[in-house]
Symmetry: C2
Subunit: 319 residues, 2 copies
């Protein structure tokens, strides 16, 4: 398992390009949620999501020979942009394997940052196969983001920032897909402050970690159906799942309609642009599926939503 | 004229409800604007705009008798919400005179915070008349926000925060309506760092201060036509104008279409929801009508845009 010391080391290594994102109090959400709520604004992170933290950690920890040959990972979008950006920053060639269904905005962004894009079929197995091929044929280091300790350590840096900015925090809500993010954040926080409550939030249509926690082992859900295009893992990573079993107190599910309403609320009251997957914690609080027990932090994990999609959600939720 | 000491005093008096808004670097705008750019996020200010600063300063400086009888001002919307909020905070009854054309969102917000709303015809003279009547008939203190030293001092607090967060700032861009905001910010900054360049930005269709600066005296423009519903003063305040003549280096004009494009850009790249009047400085930089000479701060002054209006602008600017 990844230790607090490894997370602290990852944090010390972060470059100035990784934004020390603000933690802002939301008087409006506090009035609704039953306790004081803060937002951690990772939608303001460079490349628009928290993935930049792990992307840097992964690439920075490669050996000199690995750095020269380049690295690849598969991603539903945000990890791809972050990986491409950090590759350019560190002078490491990057390739990203993306499913055909990935939003064109996210594909274009990764390409703009200089990554080689390899598109593949719309399932996770296909992504792993393409990655293996890249490694075998070209000597590129293929990163399994579901099982990488660097992912857990890199994302954990965000938890340390929350503790620094709000030492008296009581509850932290984190969006969950394969579990790397919440694994890192929960480890960072619980190892320093065991009394803090850590709650994971998933879309109802993409609940692999919730199901796995319920059954006590990593399970694979038969299908994923959600507008949260950053939260589509059909199974948890085994490494993150071990962390989740030790450190996470509760899991909460929200519907896509609740996510759209949360996106609208965040526009109107928090003045923040947040993508669907990034808005699940706000949705959980707005619907009282999670409550603000003591000082509560909700992570807004990303802001990469196409303007046309945002406009559509704002229209759909009008009145 | 309002002094630096008065601005510093106003800052010390601000309550915790007034947000110490973040200053965030924009790597994306820096790449476009020719130099490093930061945003000062007053769209995250309580009630959604910088007006909360002056609203508190005005009400806090009333005498005990004035506080008991209540206070009134006229506003195009943001000042009204801020005034209502701060009245409730301080236990002072407030009334706001708003023109019939004011956005329903802004009217509802002021009412929600507990202010008495008095609607009037769509011109500034009518607003003054109604204010005078409230004062004469009910003993309410009518605040002329165009000429109040508390407005200049209150808004100046924002300039002090910029200097604290970025001591090496070289250029500051500020949206301009009647001039109270830029008067305060320019005074705070220039009195501490005379070498900083202060640039005001107005919509082409609402350029009273720009015209007044050109002619060397406050002038009244015949009509106002802009989507920037927070920037509609037909004439500068005389007090702010004196400050502007002494401290402001340049004025820049942007079109409504450029403002819409900036709102979209801010959604896509900065993940911020900014109202039209709050986006003029971003518009000036994105169009190269203003350039980032050295370390440049662009104030995003407010985020009170109706979701339906934002959706409409996003649609209109789609490719």
């Amino acid at each position: 398992m990844v230790t607090l010391a490894e997370i602290e080391r990852a944090r010390r290594a972060l470059p100035p390009q990784v934004v020390r994102t603000p933690l802002i109090a939301s008087q409006d959400l506090s009035a609704v949620a039953g306790g004081p709520v803060w937002f951690k604004l990772e939608n303001l992170q460079v490349t628009g999501s928290y993935k930049s933290r792990a992307a840097f950690t992964i690439l920075n920890n490669l050996s000199p020979e690995q750095k020269a040959r380049g690295a690849a990972l598969s991603s539903s979008g945000n990890f791809a942009s972050a990986f491409a950006y950090m590759g350019r920053l560190l002078g490491i060639p990057t390739a990203v394997v993306m499913m055909d269904q990935t939003s064109p905005l996210k594909v274009a962004k990764s390409r703009r940052y200089g990554a080689e894009i390899v598109l593949c079929g719309n399932n996770f197995e296909e992504r792993w196969r393409v990655l293996d091929r890249l490694q075998a044929e070209r000597g590129i280091t293929a990163v399994n983001t579901f099982e990488s300790p660097d992912v857990v350590a890199g994302h954990g840096t965000l938890g340390l920032e929350i503790l620094d900015d709000l030492p008296e925090v009581d509850t932290v809500l984190i969006p969950v897909s394969s579990g790397g993010l919440i694994a890192g954040v929960a480890t960072a926080i619980k190892e320093r402050r065991p009394g803090v409550r850590i709650v994971g939030v998933q879309p109802e249509g993409s609940n692999a970690v919730t199901e796995s926690v319920r059954r006590g082992e990593p399970v694979r859900i038969p299908e994923v159906r959600t507008i949260c295009d950053a939260l589509i893992a059909q199974t948890p990573g085994r490494l993150p799942f071990t962390h989740i079993q030790r450190y996470v107190d509760d899991m909460v599910l929200v519907t896509d309609d609740e996510v759209k309403a949360a996106i609208r609320w965040l526009v109107e009251y928090a003045k923040q642009v947040v993508e669907a997957g990034g808005a699940v914690c706000a949705a959980a609080l707005l619907t009282s599926k999670a409550t603000a027990q003591g000082n509560t932090v909700a992570l807004l994990s990303g802001g990469n939503i196409a303007p046309a999609t945002l406009a559509q959600y704002l229209r759909e939720t009008e009145a």
